[in-house]
Structures are given as structure tokens and as C-alpha cells.
């Protein structure tokens, strides 16, 4: 028997509820995997001839949903720090799409994620996390602040709620299917 894995990326600025969403729908408690990065120093010649390097650990939280005996879905949260774009590349590579979580107290913190998926042409939806209570913005205001195209679905969710998170995942998969159908038409 063969087994196929499918990925969905959960993105958004720091503290938007990525791990909460993963945890609410995952069949396992969210796991953390780490990548150790080595950064060669740039620029000025080092007169001692010693190559100076710094190491950083980037943590990725993820969860799993078994779809069928031969298909398993992984939900990967993007690293907290936006600057590790190549980690995003690895997550986005071959992914079904992404959910960009939005915290209305800091709309701009989700903009880099929107921009990234736009440029990569990966299907994504924006999901406003109601965790922090009533949203003081209208859908139009959020769309305009995040420069969302009219084709990008925008949903409201409570990342702590399993049903709510599940509905957001369903919206994303439907959106990805519509995009695929459009492209192959």
C-alpha cells in the first residue's frame, strides 16, 4: 500500500493563533520540529581569517489529520519570525494552500504572509481570529488593509474551536479546488 501526504500551511503574524488552530483540529497534540540554521557572516573581511558564524534554531509546530488509510494531511505553522523565508519555501512547496490568520489588533502583522502567498501563487484564504472579541473592522476594511484580491476568501473563526477551524480548512480546500479547476479549464 502507498501513502500520500498533503500539506496545509498555517501562517500569520506572531500571536495570531497558528498553534491554537493546529491544536484544535489535529488528531495529535501539536508537535515541534526544529531546524538549526547557520548564518555565515556577510560583508567586511575578517582579518583573523576565522569565519565567524551564528546559529539560530527555528521551531515549526505542526499537527496531523488522517484523511483515509492512504492519505494524511499535515498542518504546518510558519515560524514565528518572518525573516526565515526559505523555511516558508519548504512549507509552501507542494502545499494545497495556506490559511493566513489575522489578528484585528495588529492587521499589519499578517501582511507579509499575504504578500508571500500572492507572490508564490499559492491558494490562500484570510481567517480573522475572533479570539480577541468583537471585530471592530468591516470585511471591506480588512480586505483593503491586507490588500486582498477579490478572489481571496475571507472567513471569521475562533481558532480554539474545532468546528470553526475545520470550516476554515474546508474553505481553503474548496478555494484550492476552484483555482485548480479554473487553471485546467
Amino acid at each position: 500500500m502507498d501513502r500520500t501526504s498533503v500539506k496545509i500551511v498555517i501562517a500569520g503574524g506572531f500571536g495570531t493563533g497558528k498553534t491554537t488552530l493546529v491544536g484544535s483540529v489535529s488528531e495529535i497534540a501539536p508537535l515541534t520540529t526544529e531546524e538549526i540554521l547557520t548564518e555565515a557572516s556577510l560583508g567586511v573581511d575578517d582579518t583573523t581569517g576565522v569565519e565567524s558564524k551564528t546559529h539560530t534554531t527555528v521551531a515549526l509546530d505542526f499537527g496531523r489529520i488522517t484523511i483515509s488509510p492512504d492519505v494524511v494531511l499535515y498542518l504546518f505553522g510558519t515560524p514565528g519570525q518572518d525573516r526565515f523565508w526559505f523555511m516558508w519555501d519548504e512549507l509552501a512547496q507542494g502545499a494545497v494552500g495556506a490559511i493566513v490568520l489575522v489578528d484585528t489588533r495588529r492587521l499589519d502583522s499578517s501582511f507579509p504572509a499575504v504578500d508571500y502567498f500572492e507572490r508564490r501563487r499559492l491558494p490562500f484564504i484570510a481567517a480573522v481570529n475572533r479570539f480577541y472579541g468583537e471585530c471592530e473592522y468591516t470585511e471591506a476594511e480588512i480586505r483593503s488593509a491586507l490588500e486582498l484580491g477579490p478572489e481571496v476568501p475571507l472567513v471569521w473563526l475562533d481558532a480554539r474551536d474545532r468546528e470553526s477551524s475545520k470550516m476554515a480548512l474546508i474553505s481553503l480546500v474548496r478555494h484550492a479546488m476552484a483555482r485548480l479547476a479554473l487553471r485546467s479549464a
Partner: protein, 120 residues
């Protein structure tokens, strides 16, 4: 207090081994299609010649499992676990599942994912 080396830090240093030694100096997997979500499963073969680090990986692969999960359970960084899994694949200890990212994500697969989510 003396400047001469008394040999004491040798014990300390002796406990540390550069991680690349475990992977024969390799720094990237031969099969670059290996992804965080790629599924692997152990094959029923003789493992008596394997080093403990590799046996530890195989012990997690009794059923299909992703590379990210193995790394998370064993606390091995992704770059390293990818190379180690690749070594095990190359030497016939593991079998690899079909990575979704290899094919264009097709509608039938998405349909299955959608149905699976709706059943949750």
C-alpha cells in the same frame, strides 16, 4: 593555578561529536524531493549492522510516519533527519510514500481531503 593543560577537558569534549559524523559527512539528502511531510515506513530487513542512531529512527517507522514527526519525537533537527532518512532509504531499510508535492496536486486528491475534513 597553572597554564599547562591538565587533560581534564578531554572528558568533557569527548562527549560531543559533530552531528555530521553520523551521516558520513553528508550535508544534504541525495533525494532532494524529501519533504517535511514525506511518509516513510520500515521494511522487514536485517538491521543488525545499523548504528543505534539509525535503529532509533527505524523504531519509529513501524507504521507510516512523516519525516517531521520522526525529527520531533527524536529531537533531531530537520536537516539532519532528512539526510539520515535518505541514508536508510538508499540502503533499503525504509520505503518512501508518494509525496504529494511530486505530482501536481490533483482534484481527486483534493476531493478526498475535502471529504475527510467534512467527516471530522
Amino acid at each position: 593555578m597553572t597554564d599547562s593543560w591538565d587533560g581534564e577537558d578531554e572528558d568533557e569534549a569527548g562527549r560531543f561529536v559533530p552531528l555530521y559524523i553520523l551521516v558520513n559527512g553528508r550535508t544534504s539528502p541525495r533525494d532532494t524531493a524529501l519533504d517535511l511531510a514525506t511518509q516513510v515506513v520500515a521494511l522487514r530487513v536485517d538491521t543488525t549492522r545499523l548504528e543505534p542512531e539509525y535503529l532509533q529512527i527505524l523504531s519509529r517507522c513501524g507504521g507510516w510516519i512523516s519525516i517531521a514527526e520522526i525529527g520531533a519525537y527524536l529531537h533531531i533537527p530537520l536537516t539532519i533527519i532528512k539526510v539520515m532518512v535518505d541514508v536508510l532509504l538508499e540502503q533499503g531499510y525504509l520505503k518512501i510514500g508518494s509525496p504529494a508535492q511530486q505530482k501536481v496536486v490533483d482534484l481527486r486528491l483534493l476531493d478526498a481531503v475535502l471529504a475527510g475534513l467534512e467527516r471530522l
